[in-house]
């Protein structure tokens, strides 16, 4: 069966101006229990690659520059 992808608004937002992933930081990607964050090969910044979030907060709490914000996923907001 062919696959389609559908749109989803993701709860974790990264401020590219503050994110230092392009300097080698991987803290948020490392700590995420669901392993949903990745570093973009286009921007060098962290982003939420998979909408599988427990809105638990380690990414936001452990980010050394305060670049990460966890929002409540839309479906349960």
């Amino acid at each position: 069966m062919p696959l389609a992808s559908y749109q989803t608004s993701v709860p974790v937002v990264v401020d590219d101006a503050k994110c230092i992933a392009d300097k080698g930081c991987t803290v948020c990607v490392d700590v995420c229990p669901l392993d949903v964050l990745r570093i973009s090969d286009m921007t060098g910044k962290a982003f939420m690659a998979y909408d599988e979030c427990w809105y638990c907060m380690p990414c936001e709490a452990d980010c050394p520059t305060g670049a990460v914000t966890v929002n409540i996923p839309y479906l349960l907001r």
Binding site: L3, V31, P33, D35, Y55, I72, P73
Partner: protein, 580 residues
């Protein structure tokens, strides 16, 4: 190479004691194993990252089951847990926990975790349970994971993050020989030979589907997909009382605790739409959940956690806990909804079903040394059968498991396993990556969990369960023949889907076997509405016998702490009486 790209690879390592799962029980088990024999190799394997994995990823507000001299005795605690579980308890393990947990509290204190004390310097223990007093707040509870992690580093435990164990290896005579795992970022296979293995893999928390429809908006940490239950089952271990589901009263939609254990001791209470109390006690038990369910279905709902009557200072104190530890986004959620605790009550709802001995009583069957029925295999924490564990139970029983497993490893050599088992498992694991076309894991997972809600949620109806089993078998056929994973992250989800489906099958099978009602809402069977002590005052053990899922009865061990007849049904009296 891009992250998540699938790499073909297989390597093999060995260790003395392997601990699988780095949440709460696992780190303590690894630490105690290493302390028991500092020369031995201890490996801690974790699907996520030990720094922030498991149920207490963001810490915990307190201990819910602290047996502290001067406030409670091990005998009282053992009695209360026995009564709360309708008597189906092997007391030895509970009693041992109750005796040991104070030492663990002192040890956690030495790690830098603080516990609330009153002006006299005594522990400020609060009453939440029906009978005894066991709840102890932790003022710096957000630091728990960090404190434990420091101890692991200091003890030089070998930590392997982002490796998901998929199956245990066993010898021809049934002893544990190690595990097969897969790197969740590269899909490379790692075989780990071990003399003893401790499973600390958490709850089956991604079993039911939350009513919000968001697959990862579960009560439990959504990484807890029941992998430990599935692995134990496939290795031939027995699993106890899986029909005793976990169902919790939670903040509607947010799906985290409200939390009556924090706010209750300050005067908050559970109320119906009329603002009246309807349950005697907010401690989570099946009997309490049944009254909660009855209130919601009687038309007297919604049900609320009422705290607007409390003093401003008290509400501030409650907020400072609820919005800081365990599920800190509770504050963000309430803000988004415009819910201010000062003026409005918190709307509550019933969670999806799961397996978890943290608050319930099911799990991989263990004795008072955390030994499963497979020699050399141990289990602790939310996935092991010691009832109402909570966080302190995970630490304490993890400690027991670590010590005993190292003793086992010191006295045994590696067990031999069949190399063909590795080949077979590798083929099973990689199968979704080798298909060109098919159904992605998220769709199969969604369908399985939707079926769990439709057919397995209490009240349990025999006919519905039978239909549910048929639908689940169809989903299994799809999963085994058509599931595809296009990268290693999808492979992780595909493997989790297999654990979820195994747990759904076990939940259905175990529930149909016990032909009575017990544990309030957890096992409410409409076709057998009464508790039947004559035929069912026993554990049920589910296991894989020659490839067939089988259940059998097992006697409850003679009590260590006797329960008087007039005490046995104390937890059945949860509803507030209308008259004196």
């Amino acid at each position: 190479m891009a992250m998540d790209e699938i790499v073909d690879g297989l390597s093999e390592v060995s260790c003395d004691v392997l601990v699988i799962g780095g949440g709460t029980a696992g780190p303590m088990a690894a630490l105690k194993a290493k302390l028991k024999n500092p020369k031995a190799n201890v490996v801690l394997l974790e699907k996520a990252n030990v720094k922030r994995s498991g149920a207490i990823s963001m810490g915990m507000d307190g201990l819910n089951n602290a047996v502290i001299p001067g406030y409670a005795t091990p005998e009282q605690y053992t009695k209360e847990i026995t009564i709360a579980n309708d008597g189906i308890v092997d007391q030895k393990a509970v009693y041992k926990y109750a005796q040991n947990c104070y030492k663990i509290i002192e040890e956690l204190d030495s790690f830098g975790i603080r516990f609330l004390k009153n002006e006299n310097g005594d522990y400020a223990v609060k009453k939440v349970h029906h009978i005894g007093t066991y709840v102890l707040p932790m003022p710096n509870g957000e630091t728990v994971k960090k404190a434990i992690y420091r101890q692991l580093r200091r003890a030089r435990i070998l930590i392997s993050n982002r490796h998901m164990a998929t199956r245990l290896l066993t010898s021809s005579n049934g002893r544990v020989a190690g595990t097969i795992s897969v790197n969740t970022r590269t899909a490379e296979i790692l075989v780990i030979k071990a003399k003893a293995v401790i499973l600390c893999m958490g709850a089956a928390g991604r079993l039911g589907l939350p009513t919000s429809g968001y697959m990862f908006g579960t009560y439990e940490n959504a990484a807890n997909s029941g992998d430990g239950y599935a692995m134990a089952y496939h290795a031939g271990a027995a699993l106890a009382n899986l029909e005793c589901f976990q169902i919790n009263p939670l903040i509607k939609d947010y799906n985290g605790p409200a939390c009556a254990y924090v706010a209750g001791p300050f005067g908050a209470f559970t109320a119906n739409n009329e603002g009246s109390r309807f349950i005697e006690c907010d401690y989570w038990s099946g009997q309490m959940m049944l009254e909660f369910y009855n209130e919601l279905s009687s038309g007297k709902g919604p049900v609320f956690l009422q705290l607007s009557h409390l003093h401003e200072k008290t509400i501030e104190e409650i907020e400072s806990t609820l919005h800081k530890v365990e599920r800190p986004t509770r504050g963000l959620f309430q803000k988004g909804r415009g819910t201010d605790y000062r003026t409005e009550s918190i709307e509550m709802h019933i969670s999806e079903i799961g397996f978890c001995s943290g608050h319930s009583a099911s799990g991989v069957f263990v004795d008072d040394f955390a030994r499963t029925t497979v020699p050399g295999l141990y289990a602790a924490g939310d996935m092991a059968s010691v009832p109402h564990n909570y966080m302190l139970g995970a630490f304490t029983n993890g400690s027991v498991a670590g010590t005993d497993a190292m003793e086992f490893a010191d006295n045994h050599d590696f067990a031999a396993f069949d190399a063909a088992d590795v080949v077979k498992e590798r083929d099973r694991v990689m199968a979704p990556t080798r298909r060109e076309d098919g159904i992605p894991p998220n769709q199969i997972e969604y369908k399985v969990r939707r079926l769990v809600n439709d057919y397995l949620q209490p009240p349990k109806v025999t006919r519905k369960f039978e239909l549910g089993q048929r639908r689940l078998a169809e989903a299994r056929e799809d999963m085994e023949k058509q599931m595809i994973a296009r990268n290693s992250h999808e492979l992780l989800r595909a493997l989790e889907t297999q654990s979820i489906l195994d747990c759904a099958d076990m939940a259905a099978h175990a529930s149909l076997y016990r032909e009575e009602s017990r544990w309030g809402l957890y096992h409410l069977r409409t076709d057998f509405p009464e508790k039947d002590n004559e035929n069912w005052f026993c554990h049920t053990l589910l296991s894989n016998k020659n490839g067939k899922m089988t259940s059998e009865k097992r006697d409850v061990e003679p009590y260590v702490v006797p329960i008087a007849d007039e005490e046995k049904d104390l937890y059945d009296k949860q509803r507030i009486r209308a008259s004196a």
